[in-house]
Amino acid sequence: MSWFTKFITSSLGQKLVMSLTGLFLILFLCVHLYGNMQLFKGDQGYAYNVFSHFMTHNPVIEAIAILLYLFILLHAIQGIALWVQNRSARGGQNYAVKVTRTTNTNSFASRNMAYLGLLILVFLGIHMGDFWWKVKFGAPPVVMYDGEEYQDVFALVGASFQIGWIVAIYVLAMVGLFFHLLHGFQSAFQTLGIKHKKYTPVIRFLGWVYSIFVPLLFASMPIYYFFFK
Amino acid sequence: MKLDGKTPPGPLAEKWTTYQSTVPLVAPNNKRRLEIIVVGSGLAGAAAAASLGELGYNVKCFTFHDSPRRAHSIAAQGGINAAKNYSNDGDSVYRLFYDTIKGGDYRSREANVHRLAEVSNNIIDQAVAQGVPFAREYGGLLENRSFGGVQVSRTFYAKGQTGQQLLIGAYQALSRQIARGSVEMYNRHEMLDVVTIDGKARGIIARNLVTGELERHAAHAVLLCTGGYGNVFYLSTNAMNCNATAAWRAVRRGALMANPCFTQIHPTCIPQSGDYQSKLTLMSESLRNDGRVWVPKKKEDAKAIQEGRKKGTDIPEADRDYFLERRYPAFGNLVPRDVASRAAKVACDEGLGVAPTGLAVFLDFSAAFERYGRSEAHVKGIHDADAATIRQLGEKVIEEKYGNLFEMYEKITGENPYKLPMKIYPAVHYTMGGVWVDYNLETNIPGLFVLGEANFSDHGANRLGASALMQGLADGYFVAPYTVGNFLSGEIRTPKIDPNAPEFLKTAGEVQERLSKLMNIKGNQSAESFHRRLGKIMWDNCGMSRNAEDLTKGRQLIRELREEFYKDLFVPGELNEFNPELEKAHRVADFLELGELMMLDALNRNESCGGHFRDEYQDEKGEAKRDDKNFAYVAAWEWTDTSKDPILHKEELKFENVELKTRSYE
């Protein structure tokens, strides 16, 4: 085995994979959220459609997108592998009485990262099928801006978010994401070995803010469309 | 039998260096062929096994614990002495030697003690290099504190966990050798006998505690580092599994038991609270640096406290008797342990005790809170601090120093020692007596060495605080590697010892028989219940003060108890399985013989010295009266047959460098 394989398959190497891919996904969510916020501009989806167009046609972005898909897969596969390993490390027997004390983390979130992750993965499947598949391989409606043809993703969104069960799935997934981030954000830093008397509280605070606002804003769109449009 | 201490010739301060430079050596190629068994993995055992492994010998190390790190050395709290003189307060090797000899009431061998003082400095160096995190001053250099019985600060410490840190250091050194393959570790193995071939110790019989199987292990030399026998008293500060079996089995094979009556009763333990109690907990002696020991002057106050009508804080200053400060102004609360313990007993015997049982005295930190608080306030620039602030600041300082001890006290008693004075009472803590060894730490059986608390060599009739860690590590790291080499240099032509030799098979058979006998009594009482009764007999008749009448009676009681034990013991489970009850029964069986010998030794020693106080031998002030003319010797007992009286051998103690004086701390 090469030194790198040894390292990356070691317990701490595996965690590093989780941490780095996780942090990348956290960054991605910001970009995604920035795009989604265009929906609220009240310009009949102009800004949103332009942004979508840019994101699907810029070659650099497309290259990064491939990386993103890879990282999502890596994060999921490594996560599932860790989950399986960790279950077997317990020795196949659970305690008759369960107490779930922790010091620094949300006990529910930290103990259920795998389940929360799976929930998000399933959601991703639905979400991708709903939009990404339709945009990439379907025939979405088009609009013309300045004589150029743009896919009207805005219309797609509007249509989807009229359906109650889809909205429910989105909201549920965002609750899952909230918990997943609540632990994942600060945990990623701990795994990288970043723990400092002065700076860790800042990271924790940012983690909280991020975990609350990002899922909340994501969830606000389906809710907004469902109830107010 | 003529006992030869084998003290090297020459001036005291040069004996050890001369020995080191003239001792015959074993060449590396021969070391590889020689095997050594080390029994025990505490400070002495782990240090010896690691050091001998480093030298290139093949070492096998045994412990009955699941890991070498559990040995009871780990529980030592206060610190370790060394003559570094980092405090610039007049310390020196000679002074440490002198304090130890005097503290031991002139019942130890000069040359051994001087060697101990010499290597004390190397221990600190070694420990620091291993990563032992001793307390440090702001400049990053090592800090010292003072301990009982001395007037210098020479104690190195790591909060209240010095023993733990030193043991972990030794355990790590041992682990390194295990990883290198030079030490083979046998966890969960209990040594049950020594095997001798042609008069030399050549191996042990050990029981695999998991399978119950008896194993025969052969070697060119055997080192016993198995600790003291304080648990003969049942209630002591020793760990539950501490036992005398290894040492006692050596005695049964011809080694001598020296000064078994010298037991140390430690003054600062948490008083016994109930009948179910299985062990007592020590509060480090270092607390006496800052705590003041007192009882009420008036009996009615004491009574009120005993009945819970009053608290210690309710007694005004004028009605308190700080009896140690009163009786021993020069050393005050820092008198040696034996003196402090006896003084507490005297106070309680007068009805002035402060626990419901009447058996406790106060250890009060109010003065220290005040003193430290004032100094802290000064440092912080608070000039008009009120009493409450001062006390609060003082409590902080004390917490820094003894936080874990205070916490431990609160956990056990449920009382907050920051608010109420602590209650303490003496308890059995350490045994100065042990297997007789010469200057080489070798018993009268060639090839059988005894290290650490298990031997008798360095502490005389009373051990000073922070000296046990020093001795265990000195023996293991710095003495045994030379002296065991001395013996092995004569063994380089001896081929590998065969564990199937008839002597091994015979001894194993005897052990098997002994265990079967215990299993087959099939009576009605548990080993634990016998142990508890033995402990009570020992404490009542051979405890803090002894007299001929009690000792004679006690010896008789033990004999009766032993008889009952072999008639009515019940051991559940099977012989060949994981059976803690069988382990206990075997240990208690050995205690029952050792206990009798202690009574006999105490009866023989018609004087009061150190931890051994005979009511018949005291002056008008109640201080111990030593008899140097008749008892300046080591009483080494040979156990022949349980039905006969043991035979006493005397090793005269020669004092060429110190003058024998009445030990006074007034």
């Binding site: 317990r90 | 040995a71 733990q164 431990m408």
Partner: protein, 221 residues
């Protein structure tokens, strides 16, 4: 009465009834040897912070309470009998590198290397680990990160331990993985249940040092 004295009474009663007593490990009974284990009502070493099983007292329970006592459960700590588990995997982790390679007699004067008090005190805090295994028992993943990292931190922090720091962390982590402990997912249950209050800061430190040693040096485990 302490918790273990309660078990003593139970066992004595069982012996008196000619039954086999319950096997459990214990020794010093003052919270330092690390021999006692037990998961009491779902918590290693019982309900109180900073306390080992032997320091739990029955005054914390009411008459008639039912107390569930279980052994530690982890693949790397196989149960030997009743409540006794085999924790020798911890020893092997230490043997992999939890030491400073200095032979007896090689040491220089103890005061020749000053150590900053904060460093000495942090090293001491990490070194107070008693190797009881409560961290593994508490961890939903049965991970030994707190134990391993405490030793790595203790030694790597001190100037004396710096020489071998990189190799140490690589070797110890490797051994930890071989023993079959789970992977840390930063749940912090270990820190919550550790009777000696060992901090997960040590885990972060080990992560850091492991990454540094793996990627930033030429060493391999």
């Amino acid at each position: 009465m302490s918790f273990l004295e309660m078990l003593d009474v139970l066992n004595e009663e069982l012996v008196n009834q000619k039954k086999e007593p319950v096997a459990f490990e214990h020794d010093c009974r003052e919270g330092i040897c690390g021999a006692c284990s037990l998961v009491i009502n779902g918590q290693p070493h019982g309900p109180m912070n900073g306390t080992t099983t032997c320091q739990v007292h029955m005054r914390h329970y009411k008459d008639g309470d039912t107390i569930v006592i279980e052994p530690y459960r982890a693949k790397a700590f196989p149960v030997m009998k009743d409540l006794v588990v085999d924790r020798s995997s911890f020893d092997r982790i230490i043997q992999a590198g939890g030491f400073i390679s200095v032979n007896t007699g090689q040491a220089q004067d103890a005061n020749s290397t000053p150590v900053e008090t904060d460093v000495a005190s942090a090293a001491f805090d990490a070194a107070t680990c008693i190797g009881c295994g409560a961290c593994v028992a508490a961890c939903p993943n049965a991970s030994a990160m707190l134990f391993t990292s405490a030793k790595v931190a203790h030694l790597n922090m001190l100037p004396q331990g710096k020489v071998e720091a990189q190799q140490r962390v690589l070797n110890m982590v490797k051994q930890m993985d071989i023993e079959g402990f789970g992977r840390c997912s930063n749940v912090t249950a270990c820190e919550a249940e550790c009777p000696k209050g060992i901090s997960i800061t040590n885990i972060a430190r080990m992560n850091r040092e492991y990454l540094g040693a793996s990627l930033g040096s030429e060493k391999t485990a």
